[in-house]
């Protein structure tokens, strides 16, 4: 049961974006379109899963005092790999995400999970934790991307939803819209959390 719990907590109860408020920069920056949110989320999940795996395997070998630099090197290695893979196989997405691909390395979720979970628990639990947190992040980014794309463009995943007569709120495609949409969604999540007693 505990494995199930390790997995599901990242999706809702400890959702990195809406509950823990971590990883805000990519959340706001790449969610102009739902597809970019999904791509960013999955790339981050890949890094999180691999770094949790390696850190958990090495957790007894890494000396306590220099653990943070060690974690950062491990994370940066996987970010570099993901960066290269994206550039090779998804060049369009890679150029859309731009500078935020190398910046996955400073996403607080990844270092946070390394420090709080992977450095303390066995390999399987750490991988499940990484997967759950990563998918929770992906879910939030895709959701925010879909809301912004729908309001700012009338489409979701480039499929037209609103019909031809829709006058888009262009502002939601621009930076201010990211802040406002996420702020409103977060207030909505607070209401839901209260209703279902997640506190």
């Amino acid at each position: 049961m505990s494995l199930m719990n390790d997995f599901s907590k990242g999706l809702v109860k400890e959702n990195p974006v809406f509950r823990l408020v971590l990883g805000m920069c990519p959340t706001l920056a790449v969610t102009g379109l739902a597809i970019n949110g999904l791509g960013m989320g999955l790339s981050t999940t890949a890094v999180l899963l691999s770094s949790n795996l390696v850190i958990s395997v090495l957790r007894k070998a890494i000396p306590e005092k220099i653990r943070i630099p060690c974690f950062i090197i491990i994370i940066a290695t996987f970010v570099t790999i993901v960066d290269m893979l994206l550039k090779a196989y998804q060049p369009a997405l890679h150029s859309q995400l731009g500078i935020f691909v190398p910046l996955i390395v400073v996403n607080c979720i990844i270092l946070g999970r390394a420090e709080a979970f992977a450095s303390k628990y066995p390999v399987v639990n750490s991988m499940v934790d990484g997967l759950g947190m990563g998918l929770g992040f992906t879910l939030s980014l895709t959701l925010l991307g879909a809301v912004r794309e729908l309001l700012g463009n009338g489409t979701i995943f480039s499929a037209n939803i609103m019909g031809a007569g829709y006058q888009p709120f262009r502002i939601f495609s621009f930076p201010p819209g990211a802040f406002i949409a996420l702020g409103l969604m977060m207030a909505g999540m607070n209401i839901l959390a209260k209703k279902f007693k997640l506190e």
């Binding site: 920056a29 970010v79 390395v105």
Partner: protein, 191 residues
């Protein structure tokens, strides 16, 4: 010279790092509760970003490129930045213990402040020379500080009003940031 001025004002106002490039959001939301702390944080970040721009530029063009090791850029840059932050932390602890107390957990967190790594990578991507890189780094940090201080000023006043329960905290901070971002979009017309 006009080039330098364009880079500076562009980074502070037009493409403000926080409000239009979304770099450095975590400290922007976390440390912006008091004007005093946010100025301290801004100064620490300015120093780190100026230094980081210079050191990473030199590393890129004198170590990585000659040895065709560009693919190690992310790893090398983040390590340099982490060491720089450690150094700044030591200095602040010695010079001003009060500031050190106030900045608390966010000082080591400058390492994971994406604005620092972001500026280092942008310098290389845009292809600035050494001097332009340093100017861009410092200007980006000044823009960051400006956004932080404005936000702190607004949040200090928010303490006095009653806010609907569900909007308290991050939610309202994000909406305010959105309105500030609209204001900053006005600067785009100036260039």
């Amino acid at each position: 010279m006009s080039n330098i001025i364009t880079i500076f004002f562009g980074a502070v106002f037009i493409n403000n790092f926080v409000l239009s490039r979304f770099l450095g959001i975590c400290p922007f939301l976390g440390v912006s509760k008091k004007v005093e702390t946010s100025i301290g944080m801004g100064m620490a970040v300015t120093f780190v970003m100026g230094m980081a721009s210079m050191v990473t530029w030199l590393l890129e063009y004198y170590v990585l490129v000659p040895n065709s090791l560009e693919y190690l850029r992310t790893i090398v840059f983040i390590l340099v930045i982490a060491s720089l932050v450690q150094f700044v932390e030591l200095v602040i602890r010695k010079v001003s213990p009060t500031l050190y107390q106030a900045l608390g957990i966010f000082l080591p967190l400058i390492t994971t402040n994406c604005a620092v790594l972001g500026v280092a990578i942008l310098n290389i991507q845009i292809g600035y020379n050494l001097f332009e890189s340093i100017v861009f780094g410092v200007a980006a940090a000044v823009g960051f500080t400006l956004a932080l201080v404005i936000m702190a000023g607004i949040r200090e006043n928010l303490e006095l009003v009653s806010i609907p329960e569900h909007f308290r905290g991050v939610s309202l901070a994000l909406i305010i940031a959105g309105i500030l971002s609209i204001a900053f979009m006005g600067f785009q017309r100036m260039m």
